[in-house]
């Protein structure tokens, strides 16, 4: 058993220098060491997607990653998916409008997954949206409203972008 390992993580733009046991999961490092409890741990074995965070912009299961293996990485959690002005980000706003959550436990995983997905595909069809969220489980609402929220988030993003382009 080795002692604590120094690791540097940039979480939602803030650098944290941590000393962590080598086997500390990223999900536990976020929730327990950094007390960012927005990231939820559902199944703890990579099936449910609730713990999804973005590692250098790519969605990953934080319950399947050792925090010490991510030295220097940029991590984005649901807390970091807000709009630049501090309000709700496009995906969060769309979930609210479309009633795409009930208990909210799985929601952080959906928000991070969809945020990254829309960077790759800014205007998905319903089928593509369904495919994009197929790695996340929700046990409350069913997925119809979540698919609608993906479409709505894409609209909000493109409207935001058009407004930004108009300003410049």
């Amino acid at each position: 058993m080795t002692g604590p390992v120094p690791v540097s993580l940039v979480v939602n733009g803030v650098r944290h220098e941590l000393e962590l046991p080598a086997r500390r999961l990223l999900s536990d490092a976020l929730r327990h060491d950094l007390r960012l409890t927005g990231t939820h741990v559902g199944c703890e074995h990579g099936v449910c997607g609730a713990c999804t965070v973005l590692v250098d912009g790519r969605p990953m299961r934080s319950c399947l990653l050792f925090a010490v293996s991510l030295d220097g990485a940029q991590i984005t959690t649901v807390e970091g998916c807000r709009a630049p002005d501090g309000g709700m980000g496009p995906v969060q706003q769309a979930f609210w409008e479309c009633h795409a959550l009930q208990c909210g436990f799985c929601t952080p995983g959906f928000v991070t997954t969809i945020t990254a997905y829309l960077d790759d595909n800014p205007a998905p069809t319903r089928d593509e949206a369904r495919e994009a969220i197929s790695g996340n489980l929700c046990r409350c609402t069913g997925y119809v409203n979540i698919v609608s929220a993906v479409e709505r988030a894409a609209e909000i993003r493109s409207a935001d972008r058009a407004r930004l382009d108009g300003d410049t």
Binding site: T37, H99, L101
Partner: protein, 116 residues
């Protein structure tokens, strides 16, 4: 208020905090919470004659072990009903009370709380 809400979509007031990672779920208390493991009998319908916790008490990080005897003591001191068997909801001639109970082990980490 009511008439305005009928026939229109209503935005839920709890959603903004749930969507931004500011919900408060039971597991979010976990940082300073103790962890617990329930040790159940591996034998169905067995009678527990003794629970020997001697070796378990030496486990590093252990805070306490509670067995059925603690429930009896609690009942005697405070008049709680925790040691009473659960009510038999479906009476059946071959089902009786007083079968396997479980010990309760608490520790500071999951590893030491896990039954070995």
């Amino acid at each position: 208020m009511t008439t305005r809400m009928v026939g229109e979509p209503v935005k839920r007031v709890e959603d903004p905090r749930l969507l931004t990672g500011n919900g408060r779920y039971l597991d979010d208390l976990g940082h300073d919470a103790l962890e617990v493991a329930f040790v159940r009998s591996p034998h169905a319908h067995a009678r527990v004659v003794d629970v020997d916790v001697t070796d378990a008490l030496d486990v590093d990080g252990l805070v306490g072990i509670y067995t059925y005897e603690d429930l009896v003591a609690d009942q005697e001191q405070h008049g709680t009903g925790v040691a009473e068997p659960l009510p038999l909801l479906i009476p059946h001639p071959t089902l009786t009370h007083g079968r396997t109970q479980h010990a309760l082990r608490m520790a500071r980490s999951t590893t030491s709380a896990r039954p070995s």
